[in-house]
Amino acid sequence: MTDFTPETRPNIFLRAWDSDIAYSFRRSPLAIVAAVVSLIIIFAAIFAPWLAPHDPFNPASLNLMDGFTPPMEPNAFTGNVYWLGTDDQGRDIFSTILYGARISLFVGFMAVLFAMALGITLGLIAGYRGGWVDSVLMRVADVQLTFPSILLALLIFGVARGFIPPAYREAMAIWVLIVAIGLAEWVQYARVVRGATMVEKNKEYVQAARVIGAHPTKILVRHILPNVMGPVLVIATIGLALAIIAEATLSFLGVGVPPTQPSLGTLIRIGQGFLFSGEWWILLFPALTLLALALSVNLLGDWLRDALNPRLR
């Protein structure tokens, strides 16, 4: 395989900059905006502990009397001023959004990774082995695809609660969410990978590798996997947005991360209660953040889909 790499390998950045993908990226203002917005949010989330003026997850630092402070106005009791105001617990909305985005993104990324790992593995196995293994796996995928994913997540959450001792529930909640959302989303990856595997496995180079006696796992990983990374990446991008929204939805249904460490979705669920009471900022800012994040990730996914599809270029 390496024989075919071009002899010229100057600066990797230059080559990356010159590639078709990069070109198509530079030509799409929407993609640039989306990338910048997602990067800002992701960056802000990762560095929340350093960027946020307060630590909303530390209950000892909260003063209940700071609650419901409007944006940029001093609190009636404490006189404290917050950029985006505070919520019902006196948490600084700005800081809480940063920390919340951190949780949402963590759940999103991990759920996508989980779904991806599961989907790719099962897809490879189904595509490579074929036969009854394939039939069974794809039948399961069919059921999974139709069985409502929220419902599944809801049930998984219920089960996990039954299995995990109460003392660990709070700490485990986030992992349960990840598994629940991930389990609901693996099918797409499996389908794509399976399809590609079935095509690739009959190609000469794979056959050749097989004849030399290369281990199937090696063949799958070295030869077939790189071919499916494009579509998988697209699914993953959109899956990330989907997972973040799914987390919010589950929060609405009463399962999710603990309210003392709210995710963006939990913040929105809490803020939704203040829609009619006049504290618009508790809902608005987290909702805008979620919208910006999900929208830009989706737009990136869209762009990536078009850019990676050579026939549309």
Binding site: L64, D88, Q89, P165, P166, A167, G273, L275
Partner: protein
């Protein structure tokens, strides 16, 4: 046979007037009341469920011997008089009102009362626990009923405010002589059909969708102004408030506290508020050797200093101010002011004193704090989850790291029932308006019918004896003194970390007058229009 509606229909036929259109403006003196609250009555059977919303709706269709007024006092309903027999202090005598008819036109007699009380006290009736002390019920004549108790029961009449009287003949005719059984496997006729003596008759019953009642013109009491009631549960708080703001309903019963102030400022909407007979408190496992969810050596809650420190760390006024938006009555006493045994000094609490609290923690050997899990319902009481969250912050001030586990009620309450929680939130209403009810369920050692919500595992044989004695004491002054004695001990021990008494708010279209009922059981009969 149409099981869904009591209304006849054929082929394609209009349903009853639906929750009127948004666009139609409501006439100021409409006599129809469209009433929304969070959940529906579980059943229309008068004795099946001992549950607030169920009773509230049933109070419009059925009547009780005695009623509860807005101030908590008893009123004469189907019984005109009640007294303890002079010959035997374990017998209650009820004089039954004459000239009362059921909705099907048959007259109500003592026979029906005897039948109803028997039905109510026989399992699987949900009301049975309230009548546990009843030995037998007999009709002395057409309008006198004797209830024989196992011993003196001076407060028994307080237990009757939610026990409805139904027609014996109707029940026998429809095969509902006993309250419906969960395990029976088929639906009882009385779940969706009624025959009471109340001021309203059932017109339509579509559980969780809408229930329509119309005025019963042969009712014995004053004619209410409201002629028709359309009752719609709306579970989402935002939607419920939206329905009122858009004019689709006239009265919203479960108003989120944060919306009260806004609603009051809204044109055409008024809010009626008042104290509820329910207090909200935290409690903890005081007796186990160690806590399952804690890293602490031993059981910190077993140490009186820790419990006291916690009561010094909680800022009840801040909770009222911020979490409850001013809509609560902060109090240190785990019982509402309506209840016999309440005193002003029990209610009093000092401002938080963190220094002293930290000192006490130090004294108790927990100067470095400890961790513990707090179990909290998130769909049962007003802002329950937010209260717990606020407590997490306050406890953090004295070094107690609280992990919050908030979940739905059906997962929360079994934890208390099964002693699987170290630290929990509970709300308690006192339907009998007497302290004994609190002691029986929350203070007495868990055994038999006692202590089922005693999640603190508190056990004090001396106190238990006193509590048991209360049940049969007829000398009220003596009894009140004993109650005070028990309370002193309970408060001293810091068994409960009380937060506040809930305040109820009903929001309604301007022009409607409806006062808040302490048991959250508004009667549409009491509505007047401007």
């Amino acid at each position: 046979m149409n099981m869904l509606l009591t209304k006849a229909r054929s082929g394609l036929l209009m349903g009853v007037a639906a929750s009127a259109l948004v666009l139609t403006s409501v006439a100021a003196h409409s006599e129809t009341i469209r009433w929304a609250r969070v959940g529906d009555a579980l059943t229309l059977d008068p004795h099946s469920q001992n549950e607030g919303p169920t009773h509230t709706l049933n109070h419009h269709i059925y009547e009780t011997l005695v009623g509860r007024d807005i101030d908590g006092s008893l009123t004469a309903r189907l019984a005109t008089e009640w007294e303890i027999s002079e010959e035997d202090d374990s017998v209650w005598i009820f004089r039954i009102r004459e000239g009362v008819t059921f909705h099907d036109g048959t007259p109500m007699t003592a026979e029906d009362v005897v039948f109803s009380l028997d039905r109510a006290r026989t399992p699987p009736s949900g009301m049975a626990a309230l009548h546990a002390a009843v030995e037998d019920v007999t009709a002395e004549d057409d309008h006198t009923v004797h209830v024989r108790m196992s011993g003196p029961a001076p407060l028994y009449v307080q237990n009757l405010t939610n026990t409805f009287i139904m027609s014996k003949a109707w029940a026998e005719e429809n095969g509902v002589e006993v309250a419906p059984d969960f395990a029976a496997g088929e639906e009882a006729y009385s779940v969706r059909n009624t025959n009471g003596t109340g001021p309203y008759r059932l017109v339509e019953r579509d559980p969780e969708v809408r229930t329509v009642l119309e005025r019963f013109d042969d009712h014995w009491d004053d004619t209410p102004e409201v002629t028709e009631i359309i009752y719609t549960p709306i579970s989402e708080a935002a939607t419920r408030v939206a329905a009122l703001l858009s004019g689709e309903v006239d009265i919203v019963q479960d108003v989120p506290v944060q919306d009260i102030a806004r609603l009051e400022q809204t044109d055409g909407v008024i809010v009626s508020r008042g104290p509820e007979n329910r207090n909200i408190f935290f409690s903890y496992d005081m007796t186990s050797d160690s806590l399952a969810s804690s890293d602490a050596e031993g059981n910190p809650f077993a140490t009186p200093e820790v419990r006291e420190a916690m009561s010094l760390a909680i800022d009840r006024n801040a909770i009222r101010q911020v979490v409850m938006r001013g809509e609560s009555q902060p109090s240190a006493a785990p019982l509402p002011p309506f209840v016999n045994g309440w005193t002003e000094e029990m209610d009093a609490f000092s401002d938080p004193d963190l220094d002293r609290a930290r000192g006490l923690m130090e004294e108790a050997g927990y100067g470095d704090g400890f961790t513990v899990q707090l179990d909290c319902p998130n769909d049962r009481y007003l802002n329950d989850e937010a209260i717990c969250q606020a407590l997490v912050g306050m406890m953090a001030q004295i070094g107690i790291t609280v992990d919050l586990n908030s979940q739905t009620r059906s997962l929360h309450f079994p934890l208390i029932e099964n002693w699987e929680t170290d630290f929990y939130l509970l709300g308690w209403g006192v339907p009998t308006f007497d302290s004994q009810y609190v002691f029986d369920f929350l203070v007495h050692t868990r055994e038999g019918s006692y202590g089922s919500f005693n999640g603190s595992r508190y056990s004090n044989p001396e106190l238990d004896e006193k509590i048991q004695a209360l049940a049969t004491m007829t000398e009220l002054e003596e009894r009140d003194a004993l109650i005070a004695e028990i309370w002193e001990e309970v408060m001293e021990e810091h068994i409960f970390l009380n937060v506040h008494n809930q305040v109820l708010a009903y929001a309604m279209r301007d022009g409607i007058n409806l006062d808040v009922h302490p048991e959250n059981q508004p009667h549409m009969t009491t509505i007047t229009f401007d």
